[in-house]
Amino acid sequence: MLQVQNLTKRYGAKVLAVDNLSFQTKEGEIYGLLGPNGAGKTTTLRMIATLLEPSEGSISVAGFDVRTQAEQVRRNIGVVNGGMGLYDRLTGREILEYFASFYGMGKLDIAKRIKELSTALEMNELLDRRAGEYSTGMKQKIVIGRAVIHNPSVLILDEATNGLDVVARRAVLEFARAYKGAGKVVIYSTHIMSEAEELCERAAIIDHGRLIAEDSIQALKTRASAQNLEDAFFTLTKGAN
């Protein structure tokens, strides 16, 4: 579904943000991309989302190449990141309709999809209020709805629970699980190891742009002889540096 091979991103001659990174995901899994802030996770995800151009290497999403088939790639991905905002003066419904319109969906399909998402994300009664009036949790629900309005095969969640309270955070994690259940791929990027341990089947640990380890969560813990993923993360990154 998603294949990343020898991916490298340089900014000028001095900054190497991503260094020869490779991994691939399977249908129906939540794949973790773990690393501290500045590890290169967001840069990697932006390259997958066609927002940044790779310096070297290749990325394929649902069989489409990010360099030569960027539009098809964008039709197959949805992105949620912690910093993504909304149009405060538009209602939640208007925002969802606006984004849906770029995927060639008809009015009836859009209305049906919004109804589905509104039930799944429990945002019914607030959908017709302006986004500027929403709580952080409700905003994040609209951001998720916007990312999956076209039912993409790959959903990227980049630090998607940042700044959320416990209820909103739980809703995001449950939605990710449900999305995976529909046979989709969820890329879950985070620096919070407990979340990744709770949610992901497999994960890649990245530090300084390099892949430190990639395996199932259980295998990563075994390899590091650690009780939990956070300890495993420290052991593996310390060993690599």
Binding site: L52, R74, M84, R89, L90, F102, R130, A147
Partner: protein, 411 residues
């Protein structure tokens, strides 16, 4: 290019901006309130302060009062139909008394003035602040009194040899206005019109320009838009049209308010001020064009609005935040303001095709020419083509910026 995508971006920008109260203030209220305020308020203020100054008895210092003939003293102190006379006060330092504000001006009589004409001319020094508008009123009063005194001496001398007063003025020049209706309407305040029109365009468009670029970057919504199938080119065109729509709305309202102000100034204000001469005739600042003139004005305003919108989009996309974008736009406002102030000296400019082909400068001069009834269709076409060429350049640059990682992800 998929026009349905472009229109969706345009419609979203229109809806989002329309729901912003700041926009309503800048786009609608500014031209509707500010234009009449400037074009009516300034002349009224100027006229009333001038009148009150004329009706005031200013204190004027004198050194050498004993050398001043009584008839001149009387002329200076006596009220006339032009206004009140002045109050004379003996001082010791001519310049200092003016600088200290003790007197409005000081007269210095170094020699005794003659009581009859025929001898050599005797100078009277008049010390005043030449940089002050207020001093000009008292300078006029002094000058009128001295001229009258001088004329009285000449008349007396001529009469003594049996000649009438007109002997020294066998020919008198009479000034007759050759201004066209458009020139009379635009008047000395005509240079305000390009300023108000272009400022209106910028004020109307800038809120949308900032919100749809730097604002979207700051909120993170631009990133979300760019991961949809819409192309960067479609985004740029849609946003440029959105900015242009509000810039044009503001420009259109500016023209409406200018017309309304002109009508009010000509038909209502004279009755309110109980004056025979409408202020519009004294200062201008109004538009009186035929249908073709309005059409050309609209065409220039339209292309200027598109060009300025593309330019504002270019400037704002570099900013990381709404506030930063507002700061970046300040120089553009200054260019228009200073350019328009420079239009006061436009009569001295040698007109050439090259001049009209300078972006913004050509637009401002062509608008001024048009409202003075001088601008032709050919000149307007140079400006329109220039504006369109620069629009294309700015759109291309904006597209480049929307593709540059350093610009989009400066945060």
């Amino acid at each position: 290019m998929r026009w349905d995508f472009v229109l969706k971006v345009l419609f979203k920008e229109l809806l989002s901006t329309w729901r912003d109260s700041r926009t309503l203030r800048a786009t609608i209220l500014m031209p509707l309130i500010l234009n009449p305020l400037i074009l009516l308020g300034l002349p009224i203020l100027f006229n009333s302060t001038q009148s009150s100054e004329v009706e005031k008895r200013q204190v004027v210092g004198v050194i050498g009062l004993e050398r001043m003939p009584a008839s001149l003293k009387k002329l200076l102190e006596t009220d006339s139909v032009q206004g009140k006379g002045i109050e004379l006060k003996t001082v010791t330092d001519a310049t200092k008394s003016v600088q200290d504000g003790d007197t409005e001006a000081t007269l210095v009589f170094k020699q005794t003035l003659p009581t009859e004409a025929g001898g050599s001319s005797v100078p009277i020094e008049v010390h005043l602040k030449l940089s002050s508008q207020k001093s000009r009123v008292v300078a006029d009063k002094i000058s009128t009194a001295i001229d009258t005194f001088s004329n009285q001496l000449v008349a007396k001398k001529l009469a003594s040899v049996g000649l009438p007063e007109q002997t020294l003025r066998p020919v008198v020049a009479q000034t007759v206005s050759a201004d066209t209706v458009a020139e009379k309407a635009s008047g000395i305040f005509g240079f305000f019109i390009p300023l108000l029109l272009l400022s209106g365009i910028i004020a109307g468009g800038q809120s949308t320009a900032i919100d749809s670029t730097a604002g979207e970057k700051e909120r993170g919504s631009l990133e979300a838009l760019l991961v949809t199938p819409i192309s960067r080119f479609e985004v740029v065109i849609g946003k440029t049209l959105g900015v242009t729509a509000f810039a044009l709305l503001s420009a259109f309202l500016s023209i409406i308010s200018l017309l309304g102000t002109g009508w009010f100034s000509k038909n209502v204000l004279p009755r309110l001020m109980k004056s025979d001469t409408p202020l519009s005739q004294l200062f201008g600042g109004n538009i009186a064009l035929d249908a073709q003139g309005y059409l050309i004005l609209l065409l220039i305003a339209l292309t200027a609005a598109v060009m300025l919108s593309a330019l504002m989009l270019n400037i704002c996309i570099f900013a990381k935040s709404f506030k930063e974008a507002q700061t970046y736009l300040v120089p553009l406002n200054l260019v228009v303001s200073f350019g328009s102030i420079g239009l006061q000296f436009a009569d001295f400019l040698q007109r050439s095709s090259l001049l009209y082909a300078i972006p913004l400068v050509g637009t401002m001069i062509s608008i001024l020419d048009l409202i003075k009834g001088k601008g032709g269709f050919g000149v307007a076409m140079i400006v329109v083509v220039t504006n369109l060429v620069f629009t294309a350049i700015f759109v291309a640059l904006a597209l480049r910026s929307f593709k540059r990682e350093q610009v989009l992800f400066r945060n």
